[in-house]
């Protein structure tokens, strides 16, 4: 029995550490995946529940673990079963519990998910760790309840996830049984506190109080323009600076890689992991009632870094932010910038300003005749321009978020070569050329004549060329045609050298010392034609006369 207890305590400690660490920049995949909305590990826990009882609540739920710990501190002497397994429940308890489950279910189902999730343990813990005010308040309440009462009042009375697990563990084989000696005094689960425990109500984490600087700043913010344009008379000192206001965006900007906005609002459990792991410092919990605690971008303290490896997507446990394979932050268009002429200091103060244009990581803002012109096709909605805009009280340039984010997949040469090779090996072409990631020319035929065909059509210029066999003759044609890269199923070593000396990239599935003729009895006749000539232009001339073109 003791061993079981210790094992559970160890697992619980490990889980709590892992989950907490995830919020401080150490994404542990287990910690992320264990969350209620996510998948495999969770299913395993779910399947174990009928046998092992409310394993999740005891060992995996951060809120449950913390409550057990608080209980242990405040009521260590009392012989109370702190773990919420099958104990007799009062009618009121049952009513509250089921109401809570139904309320959460209805809220989550009806699109007000963000509030529904506010009752679930991971969401509460995450919000508390990211210092989101409502989350901190509920977390404090949970801890206070655990300190005052005996047993885990939140888990047993309110938590909808706990209720779900309660149903599952109804017929649990290793559940704590109530012995025959029970007089049903209910002392083991009543939440009435003893006078002694009332002295211990100060467990509320006080450090959370100091952290609402954002709000304070907001309150204390004055409508001061950053630019005071005072003519300098003395040296040193600082002009006053003030944070810009939050513009009323037509639509909020979601983290890059987010699913469609409506789906996002349902999927996101508002756990706050992405907010805690945002490297640019721009993800903040929403205060809107419909999206309470869900991430959205606030560019006053940072912007979405264009080179970020999408830390937010890496940690998202709910599948609301996808980590797209092979796609960089720069390829995701999360929104675009909008410029307001009447707010720009170019208009209000008649000064030159290039801040937004200079800061743009994708060169999407061009200063034309002193005005910023936004290339909305290039803009990725990172908010760097909004962050640096000097206009006050509102930035003159701000980002509108897309409902459905656009991913511009970068041209991937590896995939393209693979596609071209498959065309060749299926016999659909004997020679292919591609420009800017698109196949532009296909030719069939024997020998080097298809390559000559592409050359005459000008389809080799700056192109990626793939051919079945490339010898020195074919290589010369590619060089003359000004190809960028040549790929062959079979390439002669001498051809490879020739291409490289003329600055053409070359690669092959297989390299041989020399290209032979079709019967493999002697050297290839075309190769023999160009033997001894080094200048590609001369070689092409010789080939043309040989073929009679």
């Amino acid at each position: 029995m003791k061993a079981k207890k210790i094992l559970k305590a160890l697992v619980a400690a490990a889980m709590l550490t892992a989950v907490t660490a995830a919020f401080f920049g150490a994404p542990t995949s287990l910690a992320c995946r264990i969350q209620p909305a996510a998948t495999v590990t969770f299913l395993v826990v779910l399947l174990l529940t009928p046998f092992a009882g409310r394993l999740f609540c005891e060992c995996f739920c951060p809120l449950g673990i913390i409550q057990s710990f608080v209980n242990w501190i405040f009521h260590s002497k009392t012989k109370v079963r702190r773990v919420c397994t099958r104990l007799p429940e009062s009618r009121q308890q049952r009513i509250v519990r089921w109401t809570s489950l139904v309320v959460a279910g209805v809220l989550i189902g009806s699109g007000l998910g963000a509030i529904g999730w506010l009752l679930t343990p991971y969401s509460i813990y995450g919000k508390a760790l990211t210092l989101f005010v409502p989350g901190v308040a509920i977390f404090a309440l949970v801890v206070a309840l655990a300190a005052i009462g005996k047993g885990r009042i939140w888990c047993n009375w309110i938590c909808p996830v706990g209720t779900l697990f309660n149903i599952l563990s109804k017929k649990c084989v290793c559940a704590h049984k109530v012995g025959p000696g029970c007089s049903n005094c209910k002392a083991c689960f009543t939440s009435m506190s003893t006078p002694k425990s009332q002295n211990h109500q100060t467990t509320e984490p006080s450090n959370h109080q100091t952290s609402f600087t954002r709000r304070d700043t907001l309150k204390g913010m004055t409508a001061l323009a950053a630019a005071e344009a005072v003519e300098k008379t003395t040296d040193g000192g600082y002009a006053s600076v003030s944070l810009p206001g939050v513009p009323t965006r037509p639509a909020q900007v979601l983290p890059p890689g987010s699913v469609d906005r409506r789906e996002f609002n349902i999927k996101c459990v508002a756990c706050g992991l992405c907010i805690a792991n945002c490297r640019g410092g721009c993800l903040k919990p929403s205060v809107s009632l419909k999206r309470l605690g869900q991430p959205e971008m606030d560019f006053r303290h940072g912007y979405c870094l264009s080179g970020c490896a999408q830390q937010c997507a890496k940690v998202c446990p709910a599948g609301a932010i996808r980590l797209l394979d092979g796609v960089a932050r720069k390829d995701i268009h999360a929104g675009h910038a909008i410029w307001k002429r009447d707010l720009c200091i170019r208009e209000t103060e008649d000064v030159e300003c290039t801040a937004c244009s200079r800061k743009c990581p994708v060169d999407a803002i061009h200063i034309v005749e002193g005005f910023p012109v936004i290339d909305k096709g290039a803009c990725i909605g990172c908010g760097a321009c909004e962050h640096v805009c000097p206009a006050r009280p509102m930035p003159a340039i701000f980002v509108k978020g897309f409902d459905s984010q656009r991913v511009v997949r970068p041209f991937n040469e590896k995939d393209l070569v693979a596609e071209m090779v498959s065309l060749l090996s299926r016999g659909e072409a004997s020679c292919v050329s591609a420009k800017d990631g698109v196949i532009v020319g296909k030719a069939t035929g024997k020998g080097i004549s298809p390559l000559f065909g592409l050359l005459s059509e000008g389809k080799l210029t700056h192109a990626l060329v793939a051919d079945k066999v490339i010898g020195r003759a074919a290589a010369a044609i590619c060089i003359v045609g000004n190809a960028k890269k040549v790929h062959a199923l079979l390439m002669g070593a001498d051809a490879l050298t020739l291409l490289k000396t003329h600055g053409v990239e070359a690669s092959a599935e297989k390299t041989v010392p020399k290209i032979l003729n079709r019967d493999l009895t002697d050297g290839c006749p075309m190769e023999q034609t160009v033997d001894g000539i080094d200048d590609p232009a001369e070689m092409v001339k010789a080939l043309k006369s040989r073929l009679g073109i």
């Binding site: 003395t234 040296d235 040193g236 000192g237 600082y238 800061k359 000097p390």
Partner: protein, 446 residues
């Protein structure tokens, strides 16, 4: 023993005394004094009141944030420093109406009055700092002078300077001092005895300097203040094409028998802070000497140097500099060669020539320009280059408020004409921001 070796060995003896004094209490009355050809003696070390001691550890950011209503200057500390300096023979105090957000003169007036010394025991230098166009008219200049007298609690100024001629080009110089008759008025003041010596401080446009030299017959400059140190001696023009090498300036002034007052002997601390490139060249010659000592000795080696101004914000700096100059040991040829090698090593680091003078401040958009540029130099001069994460931490520490970071520069360029080092500030800020952005992205890509 010929004369040369005799002098050399005598210097060695003096040097031993100086080395001792640098570690303990400096003996009073040993300060090197230089003769002012216009009369009187001037201590080789002068006090520059451009960077006064401030409360809260010196970083002005702290007191701006903490909401101090006062100037932020630590008056008690300043009083003690001035007293110490006067006790040890320092008698030249240089200030300006523009320094320290305009607080410098009043603070110096207070400190000098509180020292208990008589007015004739010390020399006051202040300037006609009419930088803003609204201060160009002669009336405003007169007002500025009278205000200086009031703040400094005196009825005459020993050394009065035209402030930073050449900053903003010859045209600005002409508007500030020639067209409005301010220079002629200054000459009148000298004739009337309200100022004892008339001079100018020079930065930037050579045309303004040459004009002053050409008009020496008319205005009879009593002294001239130039930027001189072992880097600017031969390399000022290399750093910025608009500047003139200190060697040229010094020789030009010496030929006209105009005594030289030196500013920026330590390049705003850049030659005093630990820097591997400098230490590597200089330490073998005298392992105990600080870098600051080397820089001061370089300047003191030249006989036409009347005084070396140093802004000593901390008591340790005051004590050390007084020790170095009591008495000052001139550099040998070998040491001068080592200093030249050190200068070349410093130039190779490609640091931004910012001396943290804060003339560019306040930036209308709230940026902390000197802190940003100094931060960049700090990273460049570290012996081992810090990691990405360390650099970002240093940046956040150097400029705690994001709104004052380099990326908030609008490129308006209003800072540029104020920079005595002619740095293209917006360009440098853009470079620094691009560099920081790269580092941030590197960090986020992990």
């Amino acid at each position: 023993m010929n004369r040369r070796t005799f002098i050399k060995s005598a210097f060695v003896g003096i040097g031993a005394v100086a080395a001792d004094s640098a570690h303990g209490q400096t003996t009073k009355g040993t300060m090197t004094l230089r003769e002012n050809p216009r009369g009187g003696k001037v201590s080789l070390l002068g006090y520059g009141a451009m960077r006064l001691p401030t409360v809260d550890g010196g970083h002005a950011n702290n007191w701006v944030k903490a909401g101090y209503s006062g100037s932020g200057i630590d008056q008690k500390m300043l009083d003690a420093q001035v007293k110490y300096l006067l006790d040890h023979g320092v008698n030249y105090f240089d200030t300006s109406p523009a320094y320290c957000r305009g607080e410098s003169e009043a603070c110096m007036g207070q400190a000098l009055a509180a020292s208990g010394y008589a007015r004739c025991d010390y020399l006051i230098a202040t300037k006609l700092s009419n930088f803003a166009p609204q201060q160009y008219p002669l009336e405003k200049c007169k007002e500025m002078f009278e205000n200086s007298l009031k703040c400094l609690r005196t009825d005459y100024i020993d050394n009065y300077l035209l402030h930073a001629i050449g900053n903003g080009g010859f045209e600005t110089f002409s508007k500030r001092y020639l067209e409005n008759g301010a220079l002629d008025w200054c000459a009148e003041l000298r004739a009337a005895g309200r100022i004892r010596n008339l001079g100018f401080s020079f930065h930037g446009d050579p045309k303004a300097f040459e004009w002053c030299m050409d008009h020496h017959d008319k205005y009879k400059w009593d002294f001239c203040q130039i930027q001189m140190n072992y880097v600017d001696w031969l390399h000022a023009k290399e750093v910025n094409d608009r500047n003139l090498n200190a060697k040229y300036l010094y020789e030009r002034l010496t030929a006209l028998k105009i005594p030289v007052v030196i500013m920026e002997p330590l390049l705003g601390g850049r030659l005093a802070r630990y820097n591997y490139a400098l230490a590597k060249e200089l330490t073998p010659l005298d392992p105990e000497a600080s870098l600051a000592k080397w820089a001061l000795r370089f300047c003191g080696t030249y006989p036409n140097v009347m005084t070396i101004l140093s802004g000593m914000t901390r008591t340790e700096f005051v004590e050390e500099n007084v020790g170095v100059c009591s008495p000052l040991k001139p550099c040998s040829d070998e040491e001068l060669a080592a200093l030249e090698r050190a200068a070349q090593a410093l130039l190779k680091l490609n640091t931004i020539p910012c001396n943290d003078c804060k003339y560019c401040m306040p930036c209308p958009y709230g940026l902390d320009i000197p802190a940003i540029l100094t931060f960049r130099n700090q990273v460049l001069t570290a012996k081992t280059s810090p990691t990405t994460r360390e650099v970002l931490k240093m940046y956040a520490k150097a400029i705690p408020e994001e709104l004052r970071h380099a990326d908030h520069c609008t490129g308006c360029g209003r800072c540029n004409p104020h920079c005595p080092q002619s740095i293209d500030i917006p360009k440098e800020l853009a470079m620094i921001d691009a560099w920081i952005d790269t580092l941030k992205n590197e960090e986020a890509a992990r």
